[in-house]
């Protein structure tokens, strides 16, 4: 958890400063949530890769493919198509998440500059 302590006895905290601090907190929370989501999306992608590979190795015509809570008997070609579609979705999702992460990191760096400039040692914006 990041700590934000403001105000030695000299520097006054304005509403603008408070809003910056709040914004930094929000971005930081979103950043941590994003890390979790990215991890999950990467795992999902890996699983789909493995599934695709297994599919190539198997010589069964009908594959049990999980839909919802059940495993439906689905012809191999259809399974292949489905897996491709799912992979595309996850990859696009992953890209979107990574982009958001980059944007958030740069916004946080900006805010850090502004806040450290005003408060210096009186504020701590690092992870502990």
């Amino acid at each position: 958890m990041q700590q934000q302590q403001a105000g030695g006895s000299e520097t006054e905290v304005t509403w603008g400063d408070q809003q910056n601090i709040n914004q930094f907190g929000r971005l930081n929370n979103r950043f941590h949530d994003l890390e979790e989501e990215i991890k999950a999306a990467k795992e999902s992608n890996e699983n789909l890769e493995d599934a695709g590979n297994e599919l190539i190795l198997t010589d069964e015509e009908v594959v049990r493919f999980q839909i919802g809570e059940v495993f439906a008997h689905v012809p191999r070609d259809e399974v292949e198509t489905r897996i491709e579609e799912m992979k595309e979705l996850t990859t696009k999702n992953l890209e979107r998440l990574e982009q958001e992460k980059v944007s958030i990191l740069s916004q946080m760096a900006e805010l850090k500059k502004v806040l450290y400039a005003k408060f210096g040692d009186s504020i701590n914006l690092e992870e502990d």
């Binding site: 934000q4 006895s9 929000r26």
Partner: protein
């Protein structure tokens, strides 16, 4: 000097008053430093309680959404099988680690579990529409919830900063008093 704040409250969550000047804040509220600090700490506790509740609701919704999507998937699969004349064969779990095979013939309707021990039969199209609506409602609720959490965390941040400033102001005041006392004595 007046104190400014954004919303005074949001859906039952009291807004934290932003303090422009610590001294004015203390005189206006008529509290001494310790009472002010304990009031603010109490507020932080209340915020924590609400945060726990909201996080639990968020977890529930985040579990519900993939569930609804899976149901939509199944209904779509059943619909695509219509007209082919084939039955859908599926393996399902009847007990942990034990699976059984089911042959699902073509059907125009599905039964949906609505909760509270109630299950209703719907046509495939109606089922899709209902599930779609539930999914959208769940996603909208989740968005509102996330906004609530953001508001809450902002109020927590404001309160934490106020605590630090009141404390620092107090330390500053004591130092000043000691300095004047030292001057008098010397």
């Amino acid at each position: 000097m007046a104190s400014s704040s954004t919303a005074t409250e949001r859906r039952g969550i009291p807004g934290a008053q932003f303090v422009e000047d610590v001294e004015t804040y203390l005189t206006q509220s008529g509290l001494d430093v310790n009472s002010a600090l304990s009031f603010l700490q109490e507020r932080l506790q209340q915020y924590r309680v609400v945060e726990m509740k909201l996080l639990a609701q968020q977890r529930d919704l985040q579990a519900k959404i993939p569930d609804i999507e899976k149901c939509l998937d199944v209904v779509a699969t059943l619909q695509s099988k219509k007209g082919t004349g084939e039955a859908l064969i599926a393996d399902f779990e009847i007990a942990e680690g034990i699976y059984s095979r089911a042959s699902i013939d073509e059907s125009d309707s599905v039964c949906l579990w609505l909760g509270a021990n109630v299950m209703l039969e719907y046509s495939c199209e109606e089922a899709t529409a209902l599930l779609q609506k539930n999914l959208e409602n769940a996603k909208a609720s989740l968005e509102v919830l996330i906004a609530d959490l953001q508001f809450l965390r902002d109020q927590v941040t404001i309160t934490q900063v106020t605590v630090a400033r009141v404390y620092n102001w107090d330390v500053h005041q004591r130092r000043l008093k000691q300095a004047t006392a030292a001057v008098k004595d010397s």
